[in-house]
């Protein structure tokens, strides 16, 4: 676990040095790159690629939540803007960072701490759906990869994923 975690951070640090400032990395690219980099020497420590990807997804979730907590704490005095995760409803130019510090709340932003909390609640009564969300959203896994990691059919993943999203949206809007 710390190995994957470190690898993710190492990749991030590399991007930080080389790419334009403000560029974001999406979970899919990040996690797959981590796998490729570790694959050469470390494959034996992971049962297979999906096992690795599952660990990476969990790492990503922890990292994002940890940073969001830190920023919320740092901002507590300053005015209490929500720390949000962008999703695609923001125009590409505005998707500056996983965490946008803009003062304006844009529709479609996901509050990563609220999402994490809702996901924890979801896992209490449907661990499979919670895991699917973690893999799909935080790990950027495809439906097929997710199906392999969870051990169910792709069709099931699709059904569960649709329901989990519906419930989470409702939960984040304060309806559940």
């Amino acid at each position: 676990m710390p190995l994957v975690y470190d690898e993710l951070r190492r990749i991030a640090a590399r991007y930080m040095g080389r790419e334009r400032p403000g560029q974001t990395l999406d979970a899919t690219g990040l996690v797959n790159e981590a796998f490729l980099r570790l694959a050469a020497e470390r494959t034996r420590e992971f049962q297979n690629r999906t096992h690795f990807l599952a660990i990476a997804a969990l790492s990503m979730r922890q990292i994002l939540v940890q940073r969001a907590r830190g920023k919320r704490a740092a901002k507590r005095d300053g005015g209490g803007h929500q720390v949000t995760l962008n999703d695609l409803t923001a125009p590409p130019s505005a998707v500056r960072a996983g965490f946008e510090r803009s003062d304006a709340e844009r529709p479609g932003d996901v509050d990563v701490l609220a999402l994490d909390e809702a996901l924890t609640r979801l896992s209490a009564f449907d661990p499979e759906q919670a895991q699917i969300v973690e893999l799909r959203y935080f790990g950027g896994l495809t439906v097929e990869e997710t199906a392999e990691a969870v051990g169910v059919s792709p069709a099931t993943v699709k059904r569960q994923w649709a329901m989990a999203r519906a419930w989470l949206k409702q939960a984040l809007e304060g309806g559940a």
Binding site: L25, A97, F99, R159, L168
Partner: protein, 497 residues
């Protein structure tokens, strides 16, 4: 929500989704029977599903900066603190008696213990029991001891001994009763003078380490302890490795994939798993100094800490200079960084003047400068009595006297004004200018004195003018031999020149 209830909702929800939209409402109602609550839940979820839009449709995006700055999972607050603690107060391990566990280092648990042979307190570091069998960690600890024991500097925690007792590898080091720099940073903005003092000490510690051929590799605020007396000590050369002649064949334990260190303070080449040398520590040093100055990690996107408002102009200057050293130290390319800790110390030493009052640090040249200008003016004024004397003496003697006096006055006055100008405009070149000018000034002064005395001799008939010339000669001699050297000494200029 119970799993049973959820499973009921799931059945009707997913069933409804398989029907064409127009049939859903009727199907749902039939399926739920009389369970109104179930129907409401399912309908609410379906409405939410129909308005999903882009919600969670794309994987999370992350700013690389956030990722790099995240701390390792074991640092999370819910991690169990006593993980790995195997000894408690009063336990005796070999010659050590445990007082209490004091923390967890990168390598294992650290205890405060008493060395019963020497009756002194030590910080005792041991591998956690679960890891004690790990040959790699054991070997790394041995290296830590060997490497750190070769460093002797007040700014580096002293390593006392490495012992193997009852299958445990124990490292005894100086016990420091202080706070880590991290804790100090968490308190808020630091005083600039304190930043300087700590930076200088850490640089001195690094210098000693580099001279011993040791790279710390994990320098960070957590590894700098500030004692109650205010001195800084680098601790935990836990991942240092020996380098230099005789040690080059030691295999490195830190291959790619087994990276050690804290990313937020690690140099880019270290993050990349490339060759690491003392310049990587200089990078970490730069990050730490920048963090002390601003109160936040230089790569952090968090808002800067409120600026310390008590800064005087001297403090602003010092902060600016420290910032430049920090920036120079944390260049991405190792070759562009400050070359060595020795250089770092020299640069910081150079700032010493700005810490105390700049005026006190460097003696003022005011009186020396004043003397230069006053002497030049007084010499020039002598041309008037000299002209009167020339007329009185008359003939070839008179003209010769005036010519000699005027030559001496022009040389002595011009060179003094030249030095004054150098002192004001090019202080760095002043010493060099003095070396060139002072012998000629002395020569001109002697010529002037001699010329005035001879003039007085030729003027035997004119008592008043005679006395004036002799007084001027004595004045020039006293000024040149006594007053000028005194002002130069006071200005800190007196040396071989």
């Amino acid at each position: 929500m119970t799993p049973q209830r959820w499973s009921q909702i799931k059945n009707v929800f997913q069933g409804a989704l398989e029907r064409p939209a127009p049939e859903r409402a009727a199907w749902l109602e039939a399926e739920c029977g009389g369970d109104v609550a179930l129907l409401a839940e399912a309908e609410k979820l379906l409405r939410s599903h129909d308005t999903l839009g882009g919600f969670l449709a794309r994987p999370a995006e992350v700013d690389p900066e956030d990722l790099a700055l995240a701390s390792p999972p074991e640092a999370s607050p819910d991690g169990s603190a006593d993980d790995g603690v195997i000894w408690h107060a009063g336990d005796r391990i070999g010659e050590f008696e445990i007082i209490r566990p004091i923390g967890r280092g990168g390598m294992g648990v650290v205890y405060l213990a008493t060395d019963r042979r020497l009756h002194r307190n030590v910080a005792l570091k041991s591998l956690p029991a679960a890891l004690a069998g790990n040959a790699e960690l054991r070997e790394r600890l041995r290296r830590e001891a060997r490497a750190a024991a070769t460093i002797t500097d007040p700014a580096v925690a002293t390593v006392y001994s490495l012992e193997e007792v009852e299958g445990h590898v124990l490292l005894a080091t100086e016990f420091l009763d202080g706070r880590t720099l991290r804790a100090v940073l968490d308190d808020g903005p630091m005083n600039v003078a304190d930043v300087y003092t700590i930076a200088l000490q850490v640089a001195q510690g690094l210098r000693a380490a580099q001279e011993a051929g040791v790279v710390h590799r994990d320098l960070k605020p957590e590894n700098v302890v500030i004692t109650p007396g205010g001195s800084a000590k680098i601790v935990d050369f836990g991942i240092a490795r020996l380098e230099g002649p005789g040690h080059t064949h030691e295999p490195r334990l830190t291959r790619a994939g087994a990276m050690i260190g804290t990313p937020a303070y690690m140099a880019p080449e270290q993050l990349m798993g490339e060759a690491v040398d003392g310049r990587s520590d200089i990078y970490a040093f730069g990050v730490i100094v920048a963090e002390m100055l601003s109160g936040r990690h230089p790569l952090s996107v968090a808002d800067a800490a409120p600026v310390n408002r008590d800064r005087t102009p001297e403090h602003e200057l010092l902060a600016g200079l420290l910032q430049r050293i920090a920036d120079h130290s944390r260049q991405t390319t190792p070759a562009k960084r400050v070359g060595s800790a020795r250089e770092l110390v020299a640069m910081l030493d150079g700032l010493a003047g700005a810490v105390t009052s700049p005026a006190a640090a460097r003696p003022s040249r005011f009186w020396w400068e004043f003397h230069q200008v006053a002497a030049a003016a007084a010499y020039s004024a002598m041309l008037f009595p000299a002209w009167v004397a020339r007329v009185e003496i008359g003939g070839i003697e008179g003209r010769s006297f005036f010519l000699a006096t005027a030559c001496a006055v022009v040389v002595a006055a011009m060179l003094r004004l030249h030095l004054w100008f150098s002192s004001r405009q090019h202080p760095r070149e002043l010493a060099w200018a003095r070396r060139r000018s002072v012998p000629w000034i002395r020569l001109a002064d002697i010529l002037l004195v001699v010329s005035l005395v001879i003039g007085a001799g030729l003027l035997a008939a004119q008592f008043v003018l005679d006395v004036v010339l002799l007084v001027l000669a004595v004045g020039v001699a006293v000024s040149s031999m006594l007053i000028e050297p005194a002002t130069a000494r006071a200005a800190g200029l007196e040396e071989g020149g």
